[in-house]
């Protein structure tokens, strides 16, 4: 071995002697370990990398540009952004012609929140190399985070830069940012186009697929939404967002078992997600496992105490369980958080009716009627209350309102729940406005439906009660065993509404501002307690303040 070594050392050692004056030692090339630094850096072996950098900087007395550059990158990864900025700046001094240095200076500035400064530096870097998509992309990001969406100039700048980046090189994240910019400037069509192009370019990116799916969901294109969400789940079966959105759609269509299967996966990935537990709770509710539903919803409520949707659902489940006092608390809390939803006041009124607080129930109905514009159910419930308490005139007024809303909805081909129609018809008879054309036809249809088994709405037993009887009250008083039987059909009726709330949740994940429209647009609350009729009770004024303020 030793023999073999010698010739080489000789050979190497003799080389410099020939060429130059003997005394001067050869200066080491500062870049000689760059490859090694890079190799360790990309393997994320930062400790070794730092050691090598330290050695190299000592050897070159801080002249090695790349070593400083990587040192700064590592510092930034470790969260020391200010220090990294300083190092990048010294790199830029060492080699002002390298656009990478400027790009990193800008990046650090961006991370420090100095967006305007970052934009300036990016423009500098762009001057050195205009064909760099990264510069354009990051400029786009910078413009988009300057929170000034009303300023058309900034938005168009962002779009311009991102489009320029896409022309140079298509990258998923550029698509995502561009889509987000469009969404923030409320330009949904453009956003859909961008995401479509993105999905075409990289069909397996689950984030893009999910985002596009959620967007379609918001636009009400359920078929397309489901398609994209399904694709996302094929490539990543545990994609939390996609599961939640797809699950809520399944819930809407009554596939509770499939939805539950998906939720189980999500529960493993994100065990502390409030919307997830809300949706699971409503799945249980639909399967009539009320106690499980309550415990899931309470978990959701614990995780997100200020989410009115969870409170709404809790209120609904408790109403179904005839726990009116609890229902009142949840609904009252929900109205405090979301004071603009008519259906919420209606539920509150139902709870109050059952708690024999008629004054407040009436007030709550009034509020509900004032806020609601499209749901005939609100008026129907109010009419029933008024009728039951002898206010025929008021009931008639509400009935006319129902007709108006129904006529309005008819044009948009909304299907009405048969129980709602039944009930309204009875109301019509009782009010002697009778056989209104509005009702006859759909009512017949539903009767046929009832006749042919297999329609999700099985029986309408409870709605067959004549108005003004004491039956409902008896029912309420009856024991739990009896309760379950008699109440079942009503519960099944309340399903469609409930699952629409979780649906809004899932799309709300992406775009908070879109929620209110969604929530009030899609739900068709078939209040379970619609048919409940109460015997006229003596008014008992107890609490003066308005019911929804009572949890203040």
């Amino acid at each position: 071995m030793a023999n073999e070594e010698n010739p080489l050392t000789l050979l190497v050692a003799s080389e410099p002697k020939k060429g130059r004056a003997p005394k001067a030692p050869e200066l080491p090339i500062p870049e000689r370990k760059n490859w090694l630094i890079h190799l360790h850096y990309i393997r994320k072996d930062y400790e070794t990398c730092k050691d090598i950098i330290k050695e190299q900087l000592q050897e070159t007395r801080g002249m090695c540009e790349y070593a400083i550059y990587v040192q700064a990158l590592i510092l930034r990864l470790e969260g020391q952004i200010q220090q990294s900025l300083e190092l990048f700046q010294s790199c830029a001094i060492l080699n002002p012609a390298n656009p990478d240095n400027l790009k990193q200076v800008a990046r650090s500035l961006f991370l420090l929140g100095k967006h305007k400064a970052a934009i300036e530096v990016y423009h500098e870097a762009g001057k050195l190399n205009d064909e760099d998509w990264e510069v354009h992309h990051n400029l786009g990001v910078c413009y988009s985070v300057i929170k000034d969406y009303k300023n058309v100039c900034v938005v168009s700048q962002a779009e311009e830069q991102l489009n320029a980046a896409l022309q140079l090189n298509k990258q998923d994240r550029t698509f995502l940012t561009l889509g987000k910019v469009h969404l923030l400037s409320r330009d949904t069509d453009k956003a859909v186009d961008v995401y479509k192009a993105a999905v075409e370019f990289s069909p397996e990116n689950t984030e893009l697929l999910t985002t596009l799916g959620l967007l379609y969901l918001q636009l009400g294109k359920y078929q397309k939404a489901f398609e994209h969400l399904g694709n996302a789940l094929t490539f990543d079966p545990s994609n939390y967002k996609a599961i939640l959105a797809a699950g809520s759609m399944m819930q809407t269509h009554g596939d509770f078992d499939v939805a539950m299967n998906k939720y189980r996966v999500a529960a493993c990935v994100v065990p502390e997600s409030p919307p997830l537990w809300n949706n699971i709770g409503m799945c249980f509710f639909s399967k009539k496992k009320y106690v499980a539903a309550i415990s899931c919803l309470k978990r959701a409520h614990y995780l997100s105490p200020f989410d009115w949707k969870v409170l709404y659902n809790l209120g609904l489940v408790h109403l179904t369980m005839q726990q009116y006092a609890s229902a009142f608390h949840f609904l009252s809390a929900a109205t405090n958080l979301q004071p603009r939803l008519g259906e919420l006041y209606m539920l509150l009124a139902v709870a109050l009716t059952n708690l024999e607080d008629l004054d407040n129930a009436r007030r709550s109905y009034e509020q509900a009627v004032a806020l609601d514009h499209s749901n005939p159910l609100v008026n129907l419930n109010f009419a029933i209350l008024l009728y039951n308490h002898g206010d025929k005139k008021g009931a008639l007024q509400q009935y006319q309102e129902i007709e108006r809303k129904v006529n309005m909805l008819k044009d948009s081909n909304t299907e009405f729940d048969s129980e709602l129609m039944d009930m309204a018809q009875k109301m019509a008879t009782a009010l002697q406005v009778g056989e209104s054309l509005v009702w006859t036809k759909p009512a017949k249809d539903t009767k046929f439906k009832q006749g042919s088994a297999g329609v999700p709405i099985k029986t309408l037993g409870s709605s067959q009660q004549p108005l003004g009887t004491n039956q409902a009250l008896e029912q309420a008083m009856s024991s739990a065993a009896g309760y379950n039987r008699s109440i079942t059909p009503r519960v099944s009726l309340s399903q469609p509404k409930r699952s629409s709330v979780p649906l809004a949740e899932s799309s709300g994940l992406e775009n908070p501002p879109a929620v209110p429209g969604d929530a009030s647009g899609t739900p068709r609350p078939e209040e379970s307690d619609t048919p409940d009729t109460l015997p006229p009770l003596a008014a008992k004024p107890k609490v003066k303040s308005k019911s929804r303020q009572e949890l203040n």
């Binding site: 000689r32 393997r43 990258q171 539950m260 899931c296 005839q322 006092a325």
Partner: protein
């Protein structure tokens, strides 16, 4: 026949038995610090038996070695002068016997070994020197300028020159003025050189595709160039430039016919170079740094730092992406021409090696440590041998069983495992049911009781609030003309306490004047020098905090304490602006008479 020793390493490796691989050798203390680019299997002696040649980086700064393994043992060791960047074996001539030479790239040199003996040293052609810089140094040599003006001139050259300065000038610019003279004298006689270093090395068949055809060396340099060297004369046949420094290369084709060099670069892009084009033909821009680059047939497979494995066509179109469970450490191709099998081996930071055919994971090997380099090929006389070195310096050798079959099943999994895990929903308890029943039966009463209590609570709260307002007990004064804030601190163990009142005027600009402070306390328990005084500062400037000290003496030694009330008063008004109740601590010392 080459025989694998058995028994000695079984104990260490038996727990990693994988159905498809035989554990041939595992030495956890082989002390190898190396990368995939520095490992090669070659029939060094022309005896039909492949040896393992490893360029060992030693400690990273010293003790670099060229190691040759035969079977499980180290056969020879040559000292290297600098860190080996890459190592290839290649046939440099047509002479018999056809034994390959080993080329070790290190710094700006390539050391060529034949029969494990040093044979030739190639030095990279020097880079162009800045003409102005040359001029300046010429003047210095003739002592026409002093070191300080030399520095000035070099400085100005550095700032605007297209050609960077040489190491010598850069080093000179960093010197202290007193060292400059000596430095200039030492170096001025020598010619200025700008040298770059090799970052990666590979081989390219010269003009025949045969297994044992003569190959050219292809080297990538820090100066963003790619050189192709003639195997016999070691002259530069072609020079091509890249936009960034290359980190690794894959070369295919023949130099005289057509070739393709796929280069991963430090800027995170991959470029494809072809014959007759000095600039890259195609470019793949990745979103993160490429860690491994492998070519399978006509496709390029890249392992990215963002824990993904991506497939591209030769022209840079993205084919597929797979997410990996951990960061990539190294990659290599697994090529079994006898079986027509090609796949990609990916070393991961979670101590696993994954085998991918296209985007499908077809096998996983668990390793005792993180693998840092992988090499698959013929070792000894065994065709399917997998050589790996680990982060801790270990050496692992595995042999592919001849019976091993890799199913090309689609890795698209069925339902995820988590789907069958039960949800964590608590059981309903009897207590819960009982409470539910109770509520059902008494909901009206419960509701009314609650509303009643709520009203009472509100009433009580309102009363307390009014009382506090009336006696100015709030920490901020409610009067608009004297918006004051006060807090009190008690210091001391007793019997003497120091009472500090911090008073602040919270008005925007109006000062407060003529304030007085008075104390009310049980005179049998406490004594104060002055129970009433005017605020020492006649005027409270807005925003400033005024601490006012006073001393309290506790008269009792019975270990009891009481409240001292503080009133901030305005002259001429009997109602206090602010009131504070100070809970005095128990005196822990005895009063001295």
């Amino acid at each position: 026949v080459f025989l694998w020793p058995s028994g000695d390493s079984n104990g260490a490796t038996s727990c990693y038995i994988n159905g498809k691989w035989l554990d041939a050798h595992y030495d956890p203390v082989a002390n190898l610090y190396t990368f995939s680019s520095c490992i090669v299997l070659a029939d060094l002696h022309g005896d039909g038996e492949n040896k393992l040649v490893v360029g060992d980086l030693g400690t990273g700064s010293s003790n670099m070695k060229l190691k040759v393994y035969r079977g499980t043992g180290l056969m020879s060791e040559n000292t290297l002068l600098d860190l080996p960047t890459g190592l290839v074996s290649f046939l440099m001539d047509q002479h018999e016997p056809r034994t390959p030479a080993i080329a070790v790239a290190s710094g700006p040199y390539i050391y060529v070994y034949k029969n494990l003996r040093p044979y030739f040293k190639f030095t990279l052609p020097p880079l162009e020197v800045n003409a102005l810089e040359q001029d300046v140094w010429n003047q210095a040599r003739e002592d026409m300028i002093d070191p300080l003006s030399l520095k000035e001139m070099l400085d100005s050259i550095r700032d605007k020159a297209d050609v960077p300065l040489s190491v010598r000038s850069l080093r000179f610019l960093m010197l202290d003025p007193q060292d400059m003279e000596a430095f200039v004298n030492l170096y001025k006689e020598q010619p200025i050189r700008r040298q770059t270093v090799i970052t990666c090395i590979s081989t390219l068949k010269k003009n025949m595709a045969d297994e044992d055809a003569v190959s050219c060396l292809v080297i990538g340099t820090e100066s963003k160039d790619v050189y192709i060297l003639d195997p016999e004369a070691f002259t530069v046949l072609t020079k091509m430039s890249l936009p960034s420094a290359p980190t690794q290369m894959d070369v295919t084709g023949q130099f005289d016919v057509e070739f393709r060099i796929t280069v991963a670069c430090r800027n995170g892009n991959i470029y494809v170079l072809r014959r007759e084009s000095p600039k890259p033909k195609y470019c793949i821009e990745l979103s993160s740094h490429p860690v491994g680059l492998v070519r399978i047939g006509k496709n390029v497979v890249v392992g990215c730092a963002q824990e993904t494995l991506q497939g591209f066509t030769q022209k840079g179109k993205k084919l597929w992406t797979v997410c990996l469970p951990a960061p990539v450490t190294t990659m290599s191709v697994m090529d079994l021409p006898t079986r027509g099998f090609q796949a990609v081996l990916v070393g991961l930071a979670n101590s696993e090696v994954h085998l991918y055919r296209d985007k499908n994971l077809i096998s996983t090997i668990k390793t005792p440590d993180i693998v840092t380099s992988i090499c698959f090929g013929r070792y000894g006389r065994e065709d399917g041998t997998l050589i790996m070195t680990t982060k801790g310096g270990g050496l692992i050798v595995k042999i592919l069983k001849r019976t091993a079959v890799f199913d090309d099943r689609d890795s698209a999994p069925g339902p995820p495992l988590a789907q069958s895990i039960r949800l964590n929903v608590p059981k309903k308890t009897k207590l819960y049911v009982d409470q539910t029943m109770r509520e059902r039966e008494n909901s009206v009463a419960m509701h009314r009781a609650f509303q009643m209590d709520l009203s009472r609570l509100r009433l009580a709260a309102a009363r307390a609030y009014v009382k506090a307002l009336e006696s100015s007990l709030t920490p901020m004064s409610s009067s608009l003309s004297e918006p004051l804030r006060m807090n009190a601190v008690v210091q001391g163990l007793g019997p003497s306490f120091k009472l500090t009142l911090n008073i602040q005027n919270t008005a925007v600009c109006r000062p407060v004047m003529n304030l007085a402070i008075s104390f009310l306390y049980d005179e049998s328990l406490y004594s104060m020098k002055t129970a009433f005084f005017k605020v020492t500062i006649p005027l409270l400037v807005p925003g400033l905090n005024y601490p006012i000290d006073t001393f309290v003496e506790c008269l009792s030694d019975k270990g009891i304490s009481d409240i001292i009330k503080v009133f901030v008063l305005r002259e001429g008004k009997s109602a206090p602006l602010l009131t504070a109740h100070i809970n005095m601590p128990v005196s822990e010392g005895l009063a001295l008479n």
